[in-house]
Symmetry: C2
Subunit: 172 residues, 2 copies
């Protein structure tokens, strides 16, 4: 991530990333299909984590509340103390349209997986898709704010505040 920031994504090679991380190029490619995947490492683990938390959420909550709880737990378990990494990552992605596309696809896939987990809880097709899409939108907005912020609040605190903002903009 440091290298992407220093040189730009395009002109950093996988060999250079491997070297900086103290890995051989062969080991690097055992973990990552290509140099873009470094930026999206953890997406599969995050998805599995969210799905499990949606599956295990208590009964009787509104669908968006279920999504909010899962995301706030993930915030603590995945992103605590990683604000600077998150900020650098955002800057690299914002500077490269191809990476921005990949980010959008990963977020869309995350929303689909969460929607499917909600449907397994008996939430209707439409409500599940809406809650998942809205939840991921809140995550995207809250995550960006947190990454750009001073670090005074945790990501989970930021997300809770962003979910409150969503209820406010919806006129609730």
């Amino acid at each position: 991530m440091e290298l992407y920031g220093e040189r730009g994504f395009e002109s950093t090679t996988a060999a250079e990333i491997a070297e900086r991380a103290g890995l051989t190029e062969r080991t690097f490619f055992r973990y990552f299909a290509d140099k873009r995947e470094v930026l999206f490492w953890g997406a599969a683990a995050l998805e599995a984590y969210l799905v499990r938390h949606v599956d295990e959420a208590p009964d009787g909550l509104a669908p968006l509340e279920v999504v909010s709880l899962a995301l706030c737990s993930a915030a603590d378990d995945f992103f605590d103390d990683r604000r600077e990494f998150a900020l650098r990552r955002q800057q690299v992605i914002a500077a490269n349209p191809e990476l921005h596309e990949r980010e959008l696809i990963k977020l869309a896939n995350l929303a689909s997986a969460v929607a499917e987990a909600l449907r397994r809880r008996g939430v209707t097709e439409t409500a599940a898709t809406l809650a998942a899409e809205a939840g991921v939108a809140v995550f995207k907005v809250g995550f960006e704010q947190w990454a750009r912020g001073s670090g005074a609040q945790t990501l989970a605190e930021q997300l809770r505040s962003s979910f409150g903002d969503l209820r406010a903009v919806a006129g609730a």
Copy 2:
């Protein structure tokens, strides 16, 4: 669109589309940069329309209400009587990952433009982004349902019902 449905997107050429539409290939390329753009024709007009409607919305509405009104007007002015076209288009896009990516990018751009228009109305940065992202998510979900539906309701009716669903999943 008929051709994409009959043969698949990959094996349809721009020349064939032009012929079916009664255009020369040269005229076709004057309107569309490539054969993918046929599917996203109208995106710029839709964006301009939404931005104008957000700019001109009455004062005192919740941000998501402003977005909802703009989208429902657009539904009547752009998509009335185009349900079959919309359904075929969805099927072509769903069958092709590259088109799906482009669809996600166009929707993300639409959300950015709407958020910017909301900020011009004095809505705060966060509330504007959230209302725009949530509004576009409702549009995406409502549009898919409408395209797959029986045609008993208009897109605007479907969207109003989907905005109600969003308030319900948010526990409002």
